[in-house]
């Protein structure tokens, strides 16, 4: 056997282990959602059922937690995307020491354990709302939004920074040169340019919020989200209803990913069509010049 074949066999073996490790647990969980056995198991299959899904949908706490999670996720998007954008724009306007100082502050939430962010948010706002007599603000949903946004804004900032790096300053100058104010340049030129980053950071913000546990479990106070309800259930004992939830989440994800892929392909096709058109125009142009010079 040549060394190349050995390498290929090793690679295949490694890939099998890697992706087995990656998907094995999910597959096991997925299958157990359809097994009648009350303990989530793949083998033996005692019978196929959808009752675990039904049970899930009748679980009041879960449904309540889900609604709360969606609501919080939406607010996190509303808060984090603008904060991340502002932070990234600020970053592009300061230099040297001030920049390092600023960078340490705004990147620190990414590197701080989530539990600590949750705790500190709650501690701070409890004292602040007590001191300012605004106890109504000391509310689980509000705390969760603030706690999660603290680090999710940093994710958004990093995404905006990489997009801003590719911004051609001449675009801004062209706008100014044509008489636009700085504010008009921001709305007419910079924001449209950032639209893909706004979209992807919104998606990222929502997903990070939706699946967050560490920060939320502290910040949510007496309220619940899907993940905190889930954590409680899992600690109490294992039931296939939880597997059923995983299956639902995976299903939603897969549908989302497929839609995303379809949209992306269509955009690629349209873009390709435009480039083809440009190429054709180029050829036509050269041809007409050629003709004109021959006649002359």
């Amino acid at each position: 056997m040549s060394s190349k074949t050995v390498m290929n066999v090793m690679l295949a073996f490694y890939m099998a282990i890697f992706f087995g490790f990656l998907f094995g647990p999910l597959i096991v969980m997925g299958v157990s959602a359809f097994n009648t056995s009350t303990y989530p198991q793949v083998y033996p299959i005692e019978g196929l059922t959808l009752s675990w899904f039904e049970k899930l949908l009748n679980d009041r706490d879960m449904v309540y937690g889900l609604k709360n999670s969606l609501w919080i996720g939406m607010w996190v998007v509303v808060v984090s995307v603008p904060l991340g954008l502002a932070a990234a724009m600020m970053m592009s306007q300061i230099y040297s020491k001030a920049r390092s100082f600023y960078y340490v502050i705004v990147v620190s939430p990414v590197l701080t354990p989530g539990v600590i962010i949750g705790i500190s948010t709650v501690v701070f706002w409890r004292d602040l709302t007590t001191a300012t007599n605004s106890k109504f603000l000391y509310d689980g949903v509000f705390m969760a939004v603030l706690g999660q946004s603290s680090f999710i804004s940093a994710y958004c900032m990093l995404m905006f920074m990489s997009r801003l790096n590719r911004f051609d300053r001449a675009q801004e100058e062209a706008g100014l040169d044509l008489g636009a104010s700085q504010t008009q340049v921001f709305f007419h030129i910079l924001l449209p340019f950032l639209r893909p980053a706004i979209f992807s950071s919104a998606v990222l913000a929502f997903l990070s919020s939706f699946e967050n546990y560490n920060t939320t479990t502290f910040a949510i106070l007496a309220d619940k989200t899907l993940t905190t309800v889930l954590a409680g259930r899992v600690r109490q004992g294992t039931t296939p209803a939880i597997s059923a939830l995983a299956v639902l989440i995976i299903a939603v994800t897969v549908v989302g990913a497929i839609i995303y892929e379809i949209v992306k392909r269509r955009e690629d096709r349209e873009r390709q069509a435009r480039l083809d058109a440009a190429h054709a125009a180029e050829l036509r142009e050269l041809e007409s010049i050629e003709k004109a010079t021959h006649h002359a």
Partner: protein, 338 residues
């Protein structure tokens, strides 16, 4: 010192920091060619106000002040609400004392349970990070240097997919597999390799596997991004010169990808050390992980100041780790955080 003086002082700190920041931003030499226009002229008044308000709110009310408040609280005694701010509310080390001696006053016994949990958490997180690196490096290298673009795209998709399922469910999946009636034990028993189910959960094997699994994506991406920028010609050149494959990795790829490796390991370490979901779901009755202990300070002992102290200890450990990695790898923070 009476702690009621603490809060105004804490509010003063950021004001000071902002003043210093402003002075730096204003008077520091700018790179050549940058306009001398003021911040407001450059952005237009409405946008400038938005930037300042947003960044100030985020950095003060969501990052700096909460941390300072938490640290401050860790130096206060646990008191019923009525007595807070009263004569008994003095700054104290008793919460840290408790961490070491298991009591707020006596120093007779050492609080081995918590101290061991703390160091075990740090050590295990380190191992998880290293294990993750070993597991992910070949794939990251393959994707970054060997595979074709279409295949890379497909692999990335495969890699991201499991992470749409949240952390608790992922931990739950491991619980199903590793429990005494779980798939692995069934297989082992069925094959006759063991005659008693193995207690993976009690042995923390499930926990470590779950932690490793949970943060694989961070590692893969950090490594992939770093290795991808390595010019393939360098590897080819080394191969032409007859360098053996391990030599290429040890002396070309890994030194080049150092920032990515540092960033992947830091992220995985932090996430493991701070992870709460996996230890709660996969930890056995005798498991020692620091975050659940921290969690119990709040939700079972209802002792917030003590919880804050524990959180601060964890934070210090993480900060030290980052600084250590930066120092060891001679890197800057910017290179680590993506």
């Amino acid at each position: 010192m009476l702690s009621s003086t603490g809060h105004p002082f804490i509010f003063l700190l950021p004001v000071l920091a902002i003043a210093i920041f402003w002075v730096m931003a204003k008077f520091e030499p700018k790179p050549v060619g940058v306009t001398k226009k003021s911040f407001f002229e450059r952005n237009g008044t409405p946008v400038a106000i938005y930037l300042i308000v947003a960044v100030a709110f985020w950095s003060l009310f969501m990052i700096v002040l909460p941390q300072l408040f938490m640290v401050e609280m860790s130096f206060r005694p646990k008191l019923p609400p009525i007595e807070m701010g009263g004569p008994k509310d003095l700054y104290t080390f008793e919460n840290y004392h408790y961490f070491i001696y298991g009591s707020t006053t006596s120093s007779d016994a050492i609080n081995w349970v918590h101290i061991k949990a703390f160091f075990l958490t740090i050590f295990a997180s380190l191992l998880v990070a290293l294990f993750n690196f070993a597991l992910c490096y070949p794939l990251a290298f393959y994707m970054a240097q060997v595979a074709r673009p279409a295949r890379v795209r497909f692999l990335l998709l495969l890699l991201i997919a499991p992470y749409w399922v949240n952390e608790i469910l992922r931990a739950f999946a491991f619980r199903i597999i590793f429990s005494s009636g779980g798939l692995i034990n069934k297989i082992l028993l069925g094959m006759g390799w063991v005659d008693q189910p193995i207690d993976f959960i009690g042995n923390d094997i499930a926990l470590y596997a779950g932690l490793g699994y949970a943060y694989m994506l961070m590692m893969i991406f950090s490594l992939y991004n770093a290795i991808e920028t390595l010019d393939h010609a360098q590897i080819e050149a080394a191969r032409d010169l007859g360098a053996p494959w391990w030599h290429i990795h040890a002396f070309i790829v890994i030194p080049f990808a150092k920032p990515g490796i540092a960033s992947g390991c830091t992220l995985v370490f932090m996430l493991s050390a701070g992870s709460l979901a996996a230890p709660l779901v996969l930890g056995g009755p005798r498991s020692l992980w620091f975050t659940p202990i921290l969690y119990d300070r709040f939700f079972q002992a209802f002792n917030w100041p003590q919880g804050a102290a524990y959180a601060f200890i964890l934070l210090l450990a993480c900060v030290s780790f980052v600084l250590l990695v930066l120092r060891l790898g001679r890197l800057s923070l910017g290179e680590i955080a993506k």
